[in-house]
């Protein structure tokens, strides 16, 4: 199913396309990937693995693995990258695909070589910010990004950003920040941008190989390399972890927020960091039921405001819980979780199963830093920024890109100024993990308008301080991690009830309690990022407090879409005075949605897979570790783990984790040796040809660029 509307994102589709899958006629849209079109049609199984016949489906949605391979008009393609075309005949890959035959060599061109001062890999928040610093100083910069539009993960972020309003566009939605940064970079003459372009390798002769425009191989010789290609998601081993329907939050956000496909009906999330929490929120915005979220730690590790948002919309959060298994016949049908003890071991008897069709794994990120390390090894001057340097929020990435841009300008001699000390400090502040929790005393005033801050955890964020026309909201400017303080009482000034702070707060954590009309039944104004049409005046809604506890029904008295606002809706609710200050949200998901199944379900096949490309189980690897294997390259040689299409990007960390679980110290373990290529590319492209998808004579050639 496709989304027909979205509270934040514009839903615009170009011409419809007919194609077939297994002979069945389906509809796609111009610019849509095959995988998105299949997902929209409810197809989850794209083929079966040659080794054990296990069902294969979408996993990374990012061209990095080959789990989503299909045969499109006779050509094996990664369905998350290849676009659907009119009349296309799509078939699942059953076993190994047949290589299409050819009788004469493709037309070949001489290879293009490009010399630049700076090559930036990745046009996300860090790369774009660095490009701005460099471009403004006239440094000849080439920015390559593997997507058709710049912004990286920003374009998938429908929520407003945390951070500093001066330094990093805090209070603006991620997708809108992407547009602003992209436009600013486009205005700079010194910066050239190659979209749809993937770096394949950094070589010892200081050449960077790039697949330009998804079509041709080009070699770039930069003076300085900036690696800003973000992070990759960690995976997890559990029984059933490779069933179609188990995938990462990145893939989910791509399907929902880029492709505008309702990728799931019922979603369960593993991992309570910001990525998992935000994905849950995005799912709710797309009308997807979020059955629950489990987190192995005693508290969610993400921002409390993100956690609270989910909780008060009605999503149960199971802390100190882990996923035991995913069940289903060929695709996810249910998940079983259990409580864990203080050694993170499941506690027998605490198992619960939930019906769901999708299980999101959001258990942390690792920097995509192999190009940086390769460049360092080979003596090519290199910098990294954003998640590729250190995993943190996108706001921190914006700032670290800015710092890196300035540092590179200095290295090239076009900038003499040192990186300002306040920049360095801001970079550190924005990267900081959540700090102390400071519960503010409940406001005692029951007259006038009282702003309530459901924001009790120290995080780097200050947009609320900048919008108050009376300057009554205070956060120590020297440390924007402090929680906001309302100065009205202290200064003897009254809140005018302008609602600006309610609108700007990224955490949707500020409400206004207005006692002016009826002190006993005040109104509470809160920000609501769901379609205005989903709420109507006079409707009764269940009110919840900051943590998600039920406060009882309240009446909606006003629904105000904000003109010139960024698609936020303000709800005004009539609430009894005794709960008004605690009221932080309204339930958007019914409680029965998250009921567990009446019985605990056991998986059909007791198999935990570490290497999904080559179908190598945790049991096989553990056995080798117990037999004394310490070299991951030897494990790879014997089992093929890490030899598959993704190049060990997924299983590398999982195998390292198995070593830890087996009590082997890190110094004893030899890690995989990273080698080119970053993604698989046809041999003919290196020879000077084009990719089959760019060849107009090829049936799977691109019909146009997605938008």
């Amino acid at each position: 199913m496709r989304l027909s509307e979205h509270p934040i994102l514009a839903v615009e589709r170009k011409g419809s396309i007919r194609f077939t899958f297994r002979g069945q006629e389906l509809t796609g849209y111009e610019g849509e990937t095959i995988s998105a079109a299949l997902y929209a049609a409810g197809v989850r199984v794209f083929g079966h693995h040659p080794k054990d016949g296990s069902p294969q489906g979408l996993f990374c949605a990012n061209g990095q693995c080959a789990q989503c391979m299909v045969i499109a008009d006779g050509e094996p393609v990664k369905s998350c990258m290849a676009l659907v075309k009119e009349g296309m005949v799509v078939e699942p890959v059953e076993g190994l695909p047949e290589l299409p035959s050819a009788t004469s060599p493709p037309p070949l061109q001489e290879m293009e070589e490009v010399v630049v001062e700076v090559l930036i890999i990745g046009g996300g928040p860090a790369g774009l910010s660095a490009a701005l610093e460099l471009g403004r100083r006239g440094v000849r910069t080439l920015l390559v990004d593997d997507k058709h539009r710049l912004g990286g993960k920003l374009v998938l972020q429908t929520h407003r950003f945390f951070g500093s309003i001066d330094a990093v566009y805090a209070g603006t939605r991620g997708t809108d920040i992407a547009t602003r940064l992209e436009r600013s970079v486009a205005e700079l003459e010194a910066v050239e941008v190659w979209p749809n372009s993937t770096v394949l390798g950094v070589y010892s002769d200081e050449v960077v190989g790039v697949l330009k425009g998804d079509s041709r191989y080009v070699q770039v010789r930069p003076k300085v390399l900036l690696v800003a290609c973000g992070a990759r998601e960690r995976s997890l081993t559990f029984v059933g972890n490779t069933l179609p329907g188990v995938y990462g939050a990145g893939a989910f956000q791509t399907l929902v927020n880029r492709d505008l496909v309702k990728a799931a009906d019922r979603l369960f999330i593993v991992g309570g960091g910001n990525v998992g929490l935000i994905a849950g929120y995005h799912a709710l915005q797309a009308g997807i039921e979020v059955v629950g979220l489990c987190e192995a730690m005693a508290e969610c590790t993400g921002y409390k405001v993100h956690r609270d948002k989910l909780a008060r919309f009605g999503v149960p959060i199971y802390t100190s819980h882990t996923v035991l298994s995913a069940q289903g016949d060929g695709r996810v049908e249910s998940v079983t979780i259990a409580a864990v003890d203080d050694r993170f071991q499941p506690v027998p008897g605490t198992e619960r199963s939930f019906a769901c069709d999708t299980l999101l794994i959001a258990v942390g990120l690792d920097p995509v830093d192999e190009f940086y390390h390769a460049a360092k090894r080979y003596g090519l001057p290199a910098y990294s920024a954003g998640d590729a340097q250190e995993i943190a929020e996108a706001s921190a990435a914006i700032f670290s890109g800015k710092v890196a841009g300035l540092e590179i300008a200095r290295e090239l001699g076009v900038e003499e100024e040192d990186v300002p000390a306040e920049w360095v400090r801001m970079a550190e502040v924005l990267k900081s993990k959540p700090g102390a929790r400071i519960a503010p005393p409940p406001p005692s005033d029951r007259w006038g308008v009282v702003p309530i801050f459901h924001c009790s955890e120290e995080i780097p964020c200050n947009p609320c301080t900048s919008v108050c026309p009376q300057e009554l909201i205070h956060i120590d400017p020297a440390d924007i991690r402090k929680v906001p303080e309302y100065l009205g009482g202290l200064l003897g000034e009254e809140c005018l009830g302008c609602e600006q702070c309610v609108v700007v707060c990224p955490g949707l954590a500020i409400t206004l309690v207005d006692y002016r009309q009826e002190p006993v039944q005040p109104t509470v104004t809160l920000a609501h990022e769901f379609s205005a049409g989903s709420v109507s005046v006079g409707q009764e809604m269940m009110a919840l407090d900051e943590e998600g506890a039920l406060l009882g029904p309240v009446e909606v008295v006003e629904v105000n879409p904000i003109p010139r606002g960024d698609r936020t809706v303000l709800l005004k609710l009539r609430a009894p005075a005794e709960v008004a200050t605690r009221l932080a949200g309204v339930q958007v998901q019914d409680a029965w949605t998250s009921e567990p199944l009446p019985e605990v379900l056991e998986p059909l096949v007791d198999e935990q897979v570490v290497c999904r490309c080559e179908r190598v189980t945790a049991g096989e690897v553990r056995d080798l570790i117990r037999r004394g294997y310490r070299d991951m390259n030897e494990i790879k040689a014997v089992t093929r783990a890490g030899m598959g299409a993704c190049g060990g990007k997924t299983c590398g960390t999982l195998i390292a984790r198995l070593f830890r679980e087996e009590g082997v110290t890190e110094e004893d373990v030899v890690r995989f040796i990273p080698r080119p290529l970053f993604v698989e590319v046809p041999l003919g492209v290196f020879a000077g040809g084009t990719t089959p998808s760019d060849d107009p004579s090829s049936p799977s050639g691109k019909g146009g660029s997605p938008s």
């Binding site: 035959s101 190989g209 310490r630 030899v670 046809p682």
Partner: protein, 385 residues
Amino acid sequence: MTTQHYDVVIIGAGSVGAPTALAMARDGLKVLVLDSLPSQGQGSNKTAIGGVRATHSDVAKIRLCLRSLEIMSGWRETYGHDIEWLGGGYVFVAYREIEEQKLKQLLKRQHSYGLDIDWYDATDLLKIVPDLNPDGLLGGTYSPGDGHCSPLLAGHAYCDQAKRYGAEFRFRERVTGIVVQGGRVRGVETDRGRYGADVVVNAAGAWARELGQLVGLDHPVEPDSHEAGITEQVAHFLDPMIVDIRPAPGSANYYFHQLATGQVTFCITPEPPIVGFDCRETSVFLPQVSRRMVDVMPRLARLRVRRTWRGLYPMSPDGSPLVGWAGEPEGYLMAIGMCGQGFMLGPGLGEFLSRMVLQRLTEEDREVLTELSPDREFAGVEVLK
């Protein structure tokens, strides 16, 4: 501290050391293998692409590789491990008369050794390899008895089997000295211990020269590097190893085959050679090799490359291995300078070395030994490297 004593200490657990340990342990010798790297085959063994042929131009390599072919092709039946053996043969293609002449010339010699190899004209060759570019194809030789298997799995199978026969392996242990007394090898010193030995085998591949210096010998072995790559897996479409010996700017021959598991693996010989130990990947390789490959087999153009790497060829002055005892010190046995063919020579050579240690050489073995003698004159150059 008592020193463990071994009949043989083999230095290097690679393409040569591993099968040698197997052969010697099976023959009842007490064997220790030392390797400074973390596990089996982490030097050049794992960088090999796995081709095995007996169709060489000189008798020593022919005999050793014929035995290797027997061992590898029968491995699964004999020992049980799947080493992904595929007996698809070798095809040397000719698109120019000069290569046709060269291959036909060589054929005479190969026939005189009784090798199963013949010339096929273009039409017949296309029946064996339908995907060859027919444009300009003159024909080629085809030797159905050759094949390939996985160097990774084979190396482990050798070690595994050697251990069953009692051989010991120690990894992450660097040899720092070879103990010599009275002109005889007595043992080996490492950064972690000391081992007594009657025989020390230098199977150190690209690092053979460095090891020889520990006994005051200067082995004429110098590595050069070749890059290789592997593609995604596709359904089986190619039986033999394809070799194109035409020179091109920057490269001599190149070759590729499809593995039992569906990937195509390929390698090229740089010309002039890139001498030295540098194994870092270069930007030159893929554009260079891919142009040549899609020209000979256009179907490969759409096959996705997955990974590339660079490995070392321990080169001798004339392209043939150096095998034999050192005059001094006694008990020091060289199995070095494999020139990139250590993997295919390994199993046959291992048994040969065992016969040397046990003084069971046959008449035929003596011919091999003469041909591979480290003391030979390095005059000729091998016809087919």
